[in-house]
Amino acid sequence: MGSIADISLVLLSGLKITLIVLILSIIFSTLIALIAGLSRVSNNWLVSGFTGFYVEIFRGTSLIVQLFWFSYALPGLFNIHLGSDVWVAVLAISLNYGAYMSEIVRGAIQSVPAGQTEASIALNFTGFQRMRYIILPQAIRMMLPEYGNYIIQILKATSLVSLIGLTDLLYYGNIYRSTHLSEAPTVYILILAVYFLLALPLILLTRKMEKVAKKGVVHG
């Protein structure tokens, strides 16, 4: 049992990076998703067209490819130095999941019945008021369950950052495994357990949000 304690201690030093990347990625991907989702329903074809292009590019290529691409292209091709690879990882994950999640925002906004828009126009609401007080309050509850699912996806995606050299949970796990080959099963089971413990509140919250989203809404 001693080795479990040893391994946990090693993994603990990587938990910090995993959590930092997770939290920053959640914040930025949410912002990107909101902005991109609203832009896609914009009447300005230039704005919606450009956003559509961004969304398709990032959904159409793989996150792991994007992660490698950013980590080489930013400093090499564009001479952009973000200071730490943490920001490269956050950028890649946020742009990727921002693109996916903008589709939830768009879908939810478009699923608010047209009568609501018409009614708010009849009441002389401005475009901003219409979004802020009529459309979004109804759309957001529809977004919540899927949003929760994507947060779990982001958590899973943070495991990729070890591939560009960040010292996260998996990185320390791999280091420990390379010196204690026979303990590999314990190492990876513990890593999986840590990820599951992080995911568990998100899973339960998502289930709760599914109930909230359905409550008091008349379907059909």
Binding site: T61, I64, G76, A157, L160, I189
Partner: protein, 228 residues
């Protein structure tokens, strides 16, 4: 480091070779996920709570933990587990790892399809004295599976984009070739761009096709409810 079109055009044929491996691996993983998805459905229908509960949480565990760690577990850790441990080659480990991970998703799709079959259909099948096998093969599944085809297609595209994870355990497909090339000539951006382009070229048209299918099935579904 500047962008070089020479390198860009030189690596296209190299990476194209890897495309076939990526595609083959995608299909193999997906076939595994499709078949194994039924296992979870079957297990969650066993009318004994503890077994039910165990398999539901096991599927939840596999679904909500990173496939990359699962791949490492299967490739690096499984061989050193006594008795059941087997050393797999990278290709087999990738099929098992990604296939298992995605089977927890396909099982949810199957489940939603089965749940969408109306209660009356079950009752009618029972009333007609059909055997369990007949009920499933001739009544439930033919109605449950077709509406889920767009969703299953979506997962195929998602899986295609997850397959490069296999390069971390040594499957020599597109991403691995790109990284090898980069390490050899210190040119990473061009080969990685080619890889990204290949992904885009395949996944974007497929996504459009799926959206078309979705519309088609939704329309059919609408019609059916409209006549009720």
């Amino acid at each position: 480091m500047t962008w070089s079109w020479d390198v860009f055009f030189n690596v296209i044929p190299l990476i194209f070779k890897g495309l076939w491996i990526t595609l083959g691996l995608t299909i193999a993983c997906y076939a595994f996920a499709m078949v194994f998805g039924f296992f979870w459905v079957f297990m969650s229908r066993i009318p004994w709570k503890p077994v039910n509960w165990l398999f539901r949480w096991l599927a939840e565990f596999i679904r909500s933990t990173p496939p990359l760690v699962q791949l490492f577990f299967i490739y690096y850790a499984w061989p050193s587990i006594p008795v059941i441990g087997v050393a797999l080659n990278p290709f087999a480990a990738a099929i098992l790892g990604l296939g298992l991970h995605f089977s927890t998703y396909t099982s949810e799709v199957y489940r939603s399809g089965i749940e969408s079959v109306e209660k009356g259909q079950w009752e009618a099948a029972t009333a007609l004295n059909l055997s369990t096998k007949q009920k499933w093969l001739h009544i439930i599944l033919p109605q449950a599976i077709p509406p889920t085809i767009p969703m299953l297609g979506n997962y195929l595209i998602i899986m295609f984009k997850e397959v490069p994870l296999a390069s971390t355990i040594g499957v020599v497909a597109m991403l691995h070739i790109a990284n090898d090339y980069g390490a050899q000539y210190y040119k990473f951006v061009e080969p990685l761009t080619v890889v990204a382009l290949f992904f885009l070229l395949l996944s974007y048209p497929s996504a459009l096709l799926i959206r078309k299918l979705e519309k088609k099935y939704n329309r059919r579904f609408d019609k059916r409810t409209a006549t009720l």
